[in-house]
């Protein structure tokens, strides 16, 4: 039997690929995404007592990452988008790992969606959560989730089909 917190650590390690993917779908590049994952994980460890044993750890972590992402956006906005180090050009928006144009174009299209639609799309389409799970992570009613999801998808469809033959 391992120590409970050791066990949680290993479970978070197992979730890392998905946390990085989720964060990547909310961020402009993998560097920002990994910063987000890091701060989300640190937040999770600080508030571990809020995690109910038996609850879904992935859902809990997605919720924390979502909050960290929103806090970060608000903070940047409050600062008036003052150049942060990661906007300095040292970390170009397209890094070698991101040179996949498919990811780049979807990422660009998602970055133009309103935040609440982006998060809904990320949870359901990128992470494959059910509507019920996604609504629980976002603490919103199912109907709200589906309408955000529908609006987000309609906008994405228009953006992604733009310039390509119908």
């Amino acid at each position: 039997m391992s120590h409970p917190s050791e066990e949680i650590g290993e479970r978070i390690v197992e979730l890392l690929p998905r946390l990085r993917r989720f964060a990547r779908s909310l961020s402009r590049n993998q560097h920002d995404a990994d910063d987000l994952v890091q701060s989300g994980i640190e937040r999770a460890w600080r508030h571990l007592e809020q995690f109910r044993p038996g609850a879904n750890l992935a859902s809990w972590m997605f919720g924390i990452l979502k909050n960290a992402w929103l806090d970060n956006l608000r903070m940047r906005r409050r600062r008036g988008e003052v150049a942060l180090p990661d906007d300095s050009g040292e970390h170009p928006a397209v890094s070698p790992v991101d040179s996949n144009t498919e990811m780049w174009s979807v990422s660009e299209a998602m970055s133009k969606l309103p935040e609440e639609q982006r998060v809904a799309v990320a949870l359901v389409l990128v992470e494959g959560l059910s509507y019920k799970e996604a609504a629980e992570v976002l603490e919103i009613p199912m109907g709200t989730l589906t309408s955000r999801l529908a609006r987000g998808r309609t906008a994405l469809a228009a953006a992604l089909e733009d310039g390509t033959p119908p």
Partner: protein, 250 residues
């Protein structure tokens, strides 16, 4: 039967019940326009789902592995974009805060100590710094700001401005501050439930610039920080988390 996009989306996502699914299946078979709309929904879904799939196969950064296992991030943040870096001296041999050539600074500080003893120091309700058992402790508005104020959320016109927050080598949080009214900069470190004021300096630069690492911090305060800091200053996120944890570093 006319199905709206939200229903077709749920159909594509496998979120409709068996009856509705059968109805839509049947409708698609006899309605090419509906079939195209469903196909369009499927295409968006596949495109978004597929776009980020590669991330799963990427090697995991060590830093995230350590964080996942609960390691403190302070030692592994070098190179991370959102963390302010200190110009930490190459030699990290333990050094007392004030030594050798810093006697000048210390003398100035003692003089300041004498000055603050009647300008800032007091026992009244309004005094920002009061004598504790064997040190000076923050009081009143200063104590409140150290406790509750986040550098990332300051407007710049608060009576007390918080500068940098960092973990000291002894594991306690320290925060630099500026008292605008008296143009006094200082450093306070967590000691139990109080904030011990470990350095003050009245030669502060213009207010409102303390948020930036190295800019706006007086040399004396910067030296005091350098003597204590472990790693780098907390970013806004970490600062908020530390505040939420009541400045207890577990």
């Amino acid at each position: 039967m006319n199905y709206d996009d939200e229903i077709l989306m749920a159909y594509v996502d496998g979120e409709v019940d068996a009856t509705l699914r059968a109805d839509i299946d049947a409708a698609i078979a006899g309605d090419p326009a509906l079939a195209r709309r469903v196909e369009r929904q499927r295409a968006v879904r596949a495109k978004v789902t597929g776009a980020f799939a590669k991330v799963l196969d990427q090697p995991l950064p060590d830093q995230l592995m350590r964080a996942a296992r609960g390691a403190a991030a302070s030692d592994s943040s070098a190179g991370s974009g959102n963390v302010l870096q200190f110009p930490v001296r190459p030699s990290r041999a333990p050094s007392p805060p004030w030594r050798g050539r810093e006697w000048g600074a210390m003398a100035a500080s003692l003089l300041l100590g004498a000055l603050i003893s009647w300008r800032l120091l007091g026992t009244g309700d309004g005094a920002p710094i009061v004598p504790g058992k064997d040190s000076l402790v923050a009081h009143g508005a200063l104590a409140h700001a150290l406790e509750a104020q986040l550098a990332s959320e300051q407007r710049g016109d608060e009576a007390v401005l918080i500068g940098l927050t960092f973990l000291a080598q002894d594991g306690n949080y320290c925060r630099s501050f500026e008292l605008r009214a008296t143009r006094t900069a200082g450093l306070a470190c967590r000691a139990g439930s109080k904030w011990q004021v470990t350095a003050t300096d009245s030669t502060t630069p213009a207010a409102g610039h303390l948020q930036q690492a190295n800019s706006g911090l007086s040399p004396a305060i910067l030296r005091a920080i350098e003597a204590r800091v472990q790693g780098s200053a907390l970013d806004a996120e970490a600062e908020r988390n530390a505040q939420l944890a009541s400045w207890k570093n577990e």
